[in-house]
Symmetry: C2
Amino acid sequence: MELIKSTQQASLDKAIYRARLGALREKMREHRMDAYLILTDDFHASEYVGDYFKCREYISGFTGSAGTLVVTADEAGLWTDGRYFIQARDQLEGTGIRLMKMGEKGVPAIEEFLKESIREGGCLGYDGRTVSAARAGQLEEVLSSKKISCDGNHDLAGGLWENRPAFPEGKIWMLEEEYSGRSRAEKLSFLREKMREAGADCHLLASLDDIAWLYNIRGEDIAYTPVALAYSLIEDNRAVLYVCPAAVSAETEAALLMDGVEIRPYLQVYEDVKKLDGGRKLLVDKTIVNTTLIGSVPDRVTIINRPDPTMLEKAVKNPVEMDNIRQAHIKDGLALTRLIYWLKKEIGKEPMTRITELDVCRKLEEFRRQGEGYLYQSFSPISAYGEHGAIVHYDPERGTDVPLRAESFLLLDTGGQYLQGTTDVTRTISLGPLTGEQKKNYTAVLRGNLNLAAARFLYGCTGMNLDCLAREPLWELGLDYNHGTGHGVGYLLNVHEGPNGFRLKERDGSRGAVFEEGMLTSDEPGIYLEGKYGIRLENLMLCRKAGKTDQGQFMRFDTVTMVPYDREAIDPDYMSEKELARLNVYHARVFETLSPYLNHEEKAWLAEETRPL
Amino acid sequence: MELIKSTQQASLDKAIYRARLGALREKMREHRMDAYLILTDDFHASEYVGDYFKCREYISGFTGSAGTLVVTADEAGLWTDGRYFIQARDQLEGTGIRLMKMGEKGVPAIEEFLKESIREGGCLGYDGRTVSAARAGQLEEVLSSKKISCDGNHDLAGGLWENRPAFPEGKIWMLEEEYSGRSRAEKLSFLREKMREAGADCHLLASLDDIAWLYNIRGEDIAYTPVALAYSLIEDNRAVLYVCPAAVSAETEAALLMDGVEIRPYLQVYEDVKKLDGGRKLLVDKTIVNTTLIGSVPDRVTIINRPDPTMLEKAVKNPVEMDNIRQAHIKDGLALTRLIYWLKKEIGKEPMTRITELDVCRKLEEFRRQGEGYLYQSFSPISAYGEHGAIVHYDPERGTDVPLRAESFLLLDTGGQYLQGTTDVTRTISLGPLTGEQKKNYTAVLRGNLNLAAARFLYGCTGMNLDCLAREPLWELGLDYNHGTGHGVGYLLNVHEGPNGFRLKERDGSRGAVFEEGMLTSDEPGIYLEGKYGIRLENLMLCRKAGKTDQGQFMRFDTVTMVPYDREAIDPDYMSEKELARLNVYHARVFETLSPYLNHEEKAWLAEETRPL
C-alpha cells in the first residue's frame, strides 16, 4: 500500500490550473451550464476516495481531504473548513480560484452562492454520481425558487482529464469467520429481517464498508481502508453484488454463490434498478446513494428512505470481533511502546541521533510490521513535532518534515489495519525537560482521557451526554479543543465509522447514537497552542454492560489501547486520588499485558514507566 | 390564593362518572362523533390550568395534572404517565374508564388507538380551543388515511357540566420596572425587531407567561402562577391585549395605552384574526396557539410557524431581574432555614411534638409570609416523610398526611412567588439518626448537586451536555433518578419555564437550549428508594459569563438558593477534597448571607450547621 500521497500536482505551475478552469468553462458553455459543482466525494459518499475520483484536485490543485469547487462563467470558488485555510490559500494562489472560508463571517453558503450567481431559469451542472440524493434534493429545492434546473449527467472534469488514474479494480478477498465472527448467511438474514420491519422488499446498498461487512469481503480500492468499489441489491431470496468481476477469484465467487449472492459488473446496477417492477418497496439511504443511481429507479417503485440497517449492526462488534480487537491492540501497543522506547533512547544519545517526523513514522511502520496479521496503516499518520502539534490535521508528508530536538513534545497519531481489527492511537511524547505549563496541560488532557474512560453510565446515554467528562479538566483551565472527543472505529474497515462518537453537538442536530455493548469508540481530548505545541491522548474503548440494578442497565467502557502515557509529562499534584488510581490501574494493565512480549531492556523501561504514581 | 386543590370530586360515588360518561356519549351521537378526546390543557397550553378548564377531571374523576381521556361508543380510556399509575387506578376504578399506562408495552399511543377504533370515514370530536394547532395537525394527518374527519367546534363536556366554575376573571396588575427591569416599550420594540427578522408583520401570542412578561402585567387566573387569561395581537405600530376588560383598572388601561396597547375583550381575538387582510404575514407558535384560533385565520394570511421570540428573551433574566432574584432567594432562604431549625428543635423535644407533613407546609408558609413582597406558593408543596419521599410527585394534600417520627428523612420541595422573583428549593432533612446507607446516598446526591453547580463550561453547551455531572456520583452506585436534573424558572411567572434545563434527552429530539447569561435553572438530583425514602437537593442557579480566553467564552453557574444542607446526613469520607471545598464555600456563603437577619439562637445553630467539614 502506497503511504505517500501524490504531491506532483502541487509542484506544477499554477498556469495549468488556469488552463483547466478555462477548458471546464468551455465545456460548461457547450452544455449550457451556468455553474458547475465539483465535490470531493466518490460515487459512494466515502470519507477517503481513490485517485480516480480526485476531479476537484485535478481542476483546482487543492489537495485537502475536504473542499467543494464551484465554477461559473466568471467566478470560481473553493469552499473548505478551518483545517485547510492555510494550505488552500497557498495552493489556490494564482489559479483564479477564490478561497471561501466556510463558517467565517461574510462567506456565503454554497447553496446561497449558487442561487445568487446563476440567472433565473439557468442551469447547474455536476456529476450526479458524486452527489448524494439527499444533497441533490436540497440543491434542487433551494434553486427551484429561481427556476434553476440541475443537470447531473455529465462528468465535465473527468472528460478533460488526460492520463486520469485507472478506475480502481483491486482484488477482493474473503474475511474468514474467525475474524468476522458471523457468517454472511446470518448477516443477510438479519438484514432481510430489518427490510421486512421497514416494509421493504428490496434494498440498495452503496456504502462500501457496509457492503464489505455484510458479505465478509475486503478490497483494495481505497488507501488505508480495505474496501472494494461496489453496490449491492438485496431482495428476499436473492442478492446481487456489483463489483469489477475480474477482482473476484473463482473461489470467492463460488463462496458468495453458496449464500445466494450473485456477482454482476459494477456498472450493471444502473441498468438493474431501472428494471425494478412496479409496487416494489426499495429501502435506500439517500444520504449515501448517489442521485444518478436514485434517478434510475423507476417512479413505479416506492422508495423508503432511512439509514442503512447495517450501519448500527456493524458498529456493534460481536464477541469474536471484540476478542480480536483486543488482540490487535496488544500487537499495536507493542509496536508503539517499542517505538517510544527507541525514540527516547535515540533522543537521549550524545550527540543526539538525527530523527525527523517522517523517520518516526517509518520506524513505527517497521515495528508494526512485526505484528502478525498487520496489513497497513489505517490513515495517513500524524507525526507532529513542537509547534506542528498545534495543527490538528498536520501531515508531515507535505514537505514540512523537521528533525526532532531534545525538548517539547512529539504528537503521534497513527493506526493500523490488522486482520483482527483497526487501531487508532495517539500519544504525545516528551523529548526533553518540560516546563511547568507543559506538564500542567499534559496532565489536564490525561485527566480528561482517564475520566471519560472511567464513566459508568445509564443505558440510553449518547456521546453528547458524556463528552464533557473529557473536557472538564481543560475547561477548568480555560482551554478546549475544536474537535469531537471521539469517533466510532470499524473492524478492519473505516477508522472513522458511525454512528457512535463523543461530541458536544451532532452535525445533524440529533442527540447522536445510544451506546450499545460492543461499540468501539475513540477517547481523544487535546490541547493545541498555536505556534507552541499540541497535546492529544487517544485510546480506543469498547462499550460494555456494567451490571443491571433496579434503576436500569448500566454501561462502562473497556479501554483496549495498551500504550503507556508519558510519565515525565505527568504532574501528579494536579490529579485527584481517584484520577491517580485510574492512571495506576491502567499502567499496571499495560505492563501486565505487554511485558511477556518485550525483551529484557524494553521490559525494564516499561516497568519504570508504568510504576504507580 | 387558595392553596388546597378541590378534592370534592374524588369523594363522590363512582356512579356519577358513569352517568357523565353516558351523557357524553349521548351528545357524541347527536353530533355524529365516533370518538371524543379531552386533554388536560386550557386554551393556552398552560402547564397548570384553572378549575374552569378541568373537563377531563369532571368526566373521569381523575385529578392528576397529566392525562388524556378518549371516549368512543363502547370504550373509554385514560392515558397517563408513571407518576399517576397508582392514583389513576384508584380514581378510575368503577367508572368504566380503562387506565392506559403510557410507555408500557402493549399500550397503544392515543393516535394509534383512535385510528384503530374509529370507523373509516368516521369523526373525532374535541374542543379545538384546548388542542394546539400542532397537535391537531398531527391527529388529522394520522387519521386522514382512514378518511376520519375532526370536529373541533364543540365543548361537549363543558356543555354537560352543571355548576361549572366561573371563567376566571382575576384582577390584572402592573409589575413596576423596579421589578421587571425593562419597560414595556423596550420589550415591544425588541419583539417587533424579531418579527421583522422572521419576515412577519403581525404576531399572535397565546402563551400566558409570555404575554405577562411582554406587557409587565400579572394576573390571578391560575393557581400558583400570577398570569391572566389573555391573547395578544402585535403589529408594527399597534398591539391589542385581549383580556377580561373588567379585570383591568382604568389606571392600568391608561398605562398600556401610553405604549400603544389597546385592551379588547378576551373572545374578540377570534373575530379580529378573521379580519386580517390578505398578504399579511402572521407569526405564531403552533405548539401553543389552539387549533380553533388558528382555524379562524383566513387562508389569505401567510402563517410563519416558529417559537415565540419572547420565550428565549424571557428566559434570559436582565440585570435588574438577576439582582431581584438574589434578594428573593435571601428571603426564601431565611424562611426555609428558620423552618429547618424549628423542625429539628421540635422533633428533638421529649416527648416529641406532633407534626405532620402538612403542618410543615403551614409552618413554612408562616415563615415565608414574613418576607417582604411574598405573594404565595409557586406550586403545590411536596412535604414527603419517609417512604412518601420516594414518590417523586407526592402530594400530602391527598389525604395521606402523616405525622413525622424522629428517624429517616423529610423531603421538602417548595417554592414562593415574590415580587422579586420565583423560588423553588428542595431540602431533605434528617429527623433522627441515619443509617450508613442513608448517609452514603445523601452524600451522593449532594455531590451531584455541588458538581453540576461548579461546572465551568464553554459557551454553546446545553443542559444535555452537562446533566451527567449531577448523575455521575449516583451512577457510580448503580443509582439514577427518573426525571430531568433541572428546569428553567420564570421571574414571578411559571416555576417551570422553557427553554433551558438539564436533561439527558429532550422530548422533541433536539439538543436543547444553549445556556445564556441570565438563565435561571434548577439543579435537583435525587435518589428514590420505593417503600423506604427519597432524597432530593435542589438549588436554583443563574448562568453567568466566566471569562473569555482565546479558546472562547466560558460560562459558569451562580447558585442563588441560600439554605444549608443537612450536616448530619453528610459523610465526608465519600467526598473528594474538591467536593468538600465546594460544600464549605457554599456553606460559608449561606452563613454570611443569612446570619445578619437571624436571631442569636438561630444564628448559633446555622454557624454550627455550616462549619467547614
